[in-house]
Amino acid sequence: MTDLKLAVKEMIIQRLKLEDMTAGDIEDQAALFGEGLGLDSIDALELVLGVEQTFGVKIEDEAAGLKAFRNVEALTAFIQEHKPA
């Protein structure tokens, strides 16, 4: 697991208080919302704030969120692509 991917998983666990989970429990390809990790749509705001405060990457709107929050792999790629130099 890359360092960034691990950091993304740890951020998700911490921000959404998934205290009974570890980074190893979250599969890279598993959907974050609905099936998979099973997050509620109302968790989106907390995730947006987590990405912004932890990685300095802003998710501007729902369209960007839809793309970034597909799964951990997509979110890691999104952060990699947009993070400040």
Partner: protein, 151 residues
């Protein structure tokens, strides 16, 4: 009052905003609710000792938050999605003029997190952090596995 009725779909006996005093769209709203002995819920809460239920103060703040939106919500209500924190410091009684103040703390898409305060003559009665979903019906995905609770 026309502003209130035009903005909120709520009606008697569940309209809890009487007047909007200050309004900075997307940022901050101050509204007012006058509590009268005629409020139907005071008959049962509590007999001989009427006081406004704390949960209704949260509802008042949620309804106030609807005025953060510039456009009328019409038939589409504001959904209270999450109560992140709520403190009830003192009760509200019939005769009280409640000042309802909400400020946007964070927002994304149709989700808005607000800090709300209910005061009466300068005394803080209730503070709360609420998550609201505005302008679209709530479509929740299956519940999440969280610590200390669900199977």
């Amino acid at each position: 009052m026309n502003l209130v009725l035009g903005q909120l779909p709520h009606r008697f006996p569940f309209l809890f905003v009487d007047r909007v005093l200050e309004r900075e769209p997307s940022l901050r709203v101050v509204a007012e609710k006058l509590v009268s002995m005629s409020e139907p819920y005071l008959q049962g809460h509590l007999p001989g000792r009427p006081l406004v239920p704390g949960v209704l103060m949260l509802e008042m703040l949620a309804q106030t938050a609807a005025f953060l939106h510039e456009d009328s919500l019409g038939e589409v209500p504001v959904f209270l999605a999450q109560v992140l924190d709520a403190r009830f410091k003192a009760p509200a009684y019939p005769g009280d003029r409640l000042r309802l103040e909400v400020r946007t703390d964070a927002a994304f898409g149709s989700l808005q997190r607000i800090d709300g305060t209910v005061t009466c003559e300068g005394r803080v009665l209730c503070t709360a952090k609420l998550l609201l979903k505005m302008g679209a019906p709530m479509e929740l995905a299956p519940k999440v596995r969280r610590a200390g609770g669900e199977p």
